[in-house]
């Protein structure tokens, strides 16, 4: 009975020692053995089962994967004094766990440092750049001929300039500044990216107002352009109508004139054979065309009167 108790005690003790001396380093981790607060040995980067001296050595695991950093959403004025909201994100990794352990102890400590350095780097770069620089990229290419006329008018052609640096370069600048300013805490900054840029609410409202005004002026331009083009078409139509009508009138006059001339010539040729007889026949014709109840006034010496007298006399 006593033996069994001893055996059990020994077993418990062995198990305890075993469980306190074996530890697992996960694939995602690297670890440092700490003895009385001081790191012992190198960095254990090989995942798997490892051993330590029980009770006096502790294990500090650190992630060895790529870690993310999510920046505060901060209001920053640009070089052009627009206030914008900038949200950045970065990736980093623990590259030197010993240094990391010595300087910041934990990821939280590292994050605080990252906050300080990255926030200030973002602030420096953003406030030293025009908004367009941050929004556009180096491969900015606006084919003005591809744009609709209305949009170019709304934007203003000179505002479409290619950025000097562009977003990608600014992100690299932020990374460079941050890396330079980062105290040696055993981490490596892999990249910094601007996640979001937006206007602050009040500026956003103004921009929206401007967009509305722009659109409305475009709409107004369309409408007046419509009127203008309609007037132009109607004007052209009027001109065409007058041209057609006047050309026709001219042609008609010419035709009539030619006909009149021809008729005159025909008459002239014929009547010229005997003008005296023509005058006679024309006079008689004109008498015969007199209307009813006319008072005929004739000269007593005229031939017609002579005949009239003779006809009455007979």
């Amino acid at each position: 009975m006593k033996n069994i108790t001893y055996l059990a005690l020994v077993a418990v003790f062995v198990l305890l020692v075993f469980s306190r001396s074996a530890f697992i380093v996960d694939q995602s981790q690297q670890a440092i053995i700490v003895q009385f607060g001081e790191p012992v040995g190198g960095v254990i980067s090989e995942p798997g089962l490892h051993w330590r001296i029980p009770f006096i050595q502790n294990v500090r695991p650190f992630d060895r994967r790529l870690l993310d950093w999510d920046g505060d959403v901060s209001q920053i004025p640009t070089l052009g004094r627009e206030f914008i909201i900038v949200d950045t994100t970065a990736r980093w990794r623990i590259s030197d766990p010993l240094q990391f352990l010595r300087s910041v102890q934990s990821e939280n400590g590292a994050r605080t440092r990252l906050d300080d350095v990255l926030d200030s780097a973002v602030r420096d770069v953003v406030s030293g750049s025009e908004l367009a620089e941050i929004v556009r990229s180096a491969d900015w290419k606006v084919d003005k001929s591809q744009l609709r006329e209305e949009d170019v008018a709304a934007i203003g052609a000179d505002e479409l300039a290619k950025p000097k640096k562009g977003r990608g370069q600014l992100e690299k600048d932020i990374l460079a500044t941050a890396t330079q300013q980062m105290p040696n805490i055993g981490i490596e900054l892999v990249d910094v990216r601007i996640k979001r840029i937006n206007y602050i609410d009040s500026v956003g409202k103004q921009v929206e107002d401007r967009m509305i005004a722009e659109r409305q002026s475009i709409a107004a331009r369309f409408r007046s352009e419509g009127q203008g083009r309609s007037e132009e078409i109607l004007g052209n139509m009027q001109r065409e109508l007058q041209r057609i009508a006047s050309e026709a009138a001219r042609q008609a006059q010419e035709i009539r004139g030619r006909a009149d001339a021809e008729a005159t010539k025909i008459y002239g040729d014929a009547y010229g054979q005997d003008p005296a007889f023509y005058s006679l026949s024309k006079t008689l014709d004109s008498y015969s065309t007199l209307g009813e109840n006319t008072t005929l006034m004739i000269d007593a010496k005229s031939e017609f009167f002579r005949y009239l007298q003779s006809s009455q006399g007979r």
Binding site: V135, I197, M211, I233, I244, E262, L280, S311
Partner: protein
């Protein structure tokens, strides 16, 4: 303790015996058959770790692993296409039509190259290509995918004119975003394969939308006004052409008539003249008499004007004029 956890793990996931070089003696673990999990219907792969170290990948099917916490399995759905939504969340996908939750303005609002505001909603579809990399190269892989997607989409949209984004740029933007997100994932080497990026609603900010509609209406109005005017012109000008032809034709008619009449008149004249030349006196008298014959019945009165006389002398009155026609005939 670890045994119990293991049983649960076994029941929930597939298990597998180790095959690697450092797994010589296989201890059969409590196993579960795939039939038990057939209902999951998801193609998955299990990443097996022994004491935290990756020792292999288990495919679908019956697998074994060491119990008591020595081996652990992390199941990663590798074939399933997963998606991340930006600017909206679809919910209740089990209904006939996916319903969308209200937009998430922070996610969808962005700036265009002409520094205007635009709302872009999009979906990133991806697949986990390499489960080991997915698990062990980054900590928050999905969050990183989200962050990067937002960053990339904003860069691309910011590199274009707003009107371009709203209209013709959609397909280009989507494919550029896919390529760029994929490139970033490859740089992180996190085992994610971006399949496609699809733009959903791309709109101007809510407050500006009516103004955009106004522009569209104005454009329609412009077209309508131009069409109306063109229509009027198209109606009026052919008509005027017709009228012009008519005017000319009428003039030609006049001309023909005028010339023909002249010829007729001349012919008549020539005929009479020929007569006249043969017997001038007789013809002359006859002509006068004929004229009188024609004229006298109609004439009201004849007044004779004589040289040296102050007032004209009335020769006939109306009544007498009525009887006169017979008389010249009697003279014949």
């Amino acid at each position: 303790m670890s045994d119990a956890r293991d049983i649960i793990e076994q029941l929930l996931r597939r298990s597998r015996g180790p095959r690697g070089p450092n797994g010589p003696r296989t201890i059969p673990a409590i196993t579960a058959f795939q039939e038990m999990f057939g209902g999951l219907g998801v193609i998955v792969r299990g990443v097996i770790t022994r004491f935290g170290r990756v020792i292999g990948i288990a495919e679908n099917g019956l697998n074994f692993k060491l119990p008591f916490g020595i081996d652990a399995v992390q199941v990663v759905p590798t074939q399933r296409v997963q998606k991340e939504e930006f600017g909206f969340r679809s919910e209740k996908a089990d209904r006939a039509r996916t319903q969308f939750a209200a937009g998430n303005p922070d996610e969808s609002l962005m700036l265009t190259g002409d520094l205007n505001i635009i709302q872009v909603e999009w979906v990133v579809q991806y697949r986990i290509d390499d489960p080991v990399k997915y698990l062990y190269s980054m900590r928050l892989t999905t969050k990183t995918l989200r962050d990067l997607s937002e960053s990339v989409m904003r860069r691309i949209v910011g590199n274009r004119i707003g009107s371009d984004v709203l209209t013709i740029g959609r397909i280009e933007i989507a494919s550029a975003a896919r390529d760029e997100i994929q490139a970033a994932m490859e740089r992180y080497d996190n085992g994610i394969k971006v399949i496609t990026v699809q733009l959903q609603d791309v709109l101007p900010p809510t407050r500006v939308q009516p103004a955009f509609n106004e522009v569209n209406e104005a454009r329609q109005q412009l077209e309508r006004m131009v069409n109306d005017a063109t229509k009027e012109a198209n109606q009026a000008i052919p008509k005027a052409d017709g009228t012009a032809k008519r005017t000319v034709a009428e003039a030609e008619g006049y001309a023909t008539e005028r010339v023909n009449r002249a010829h007729g008149d001349v012919a008549a004249f020539s005929a009479v003249l020929a007569e006249y030349k043969r017997a001038p006196e007789v013809t002359r008298t006859r002509l006068y008499l004929e004229a009188l014959n024609k004229v006298l019945p109609k004439i009201g009165s004849v007044v004779v004007v004589q040289d040296g006389q102050a007032t004209p002398l009335p020769l006939l009155n109306l009544r007498d004029g009525q009887r006169l026609p017979q008389k010249p005939e009697a003279t014949r």
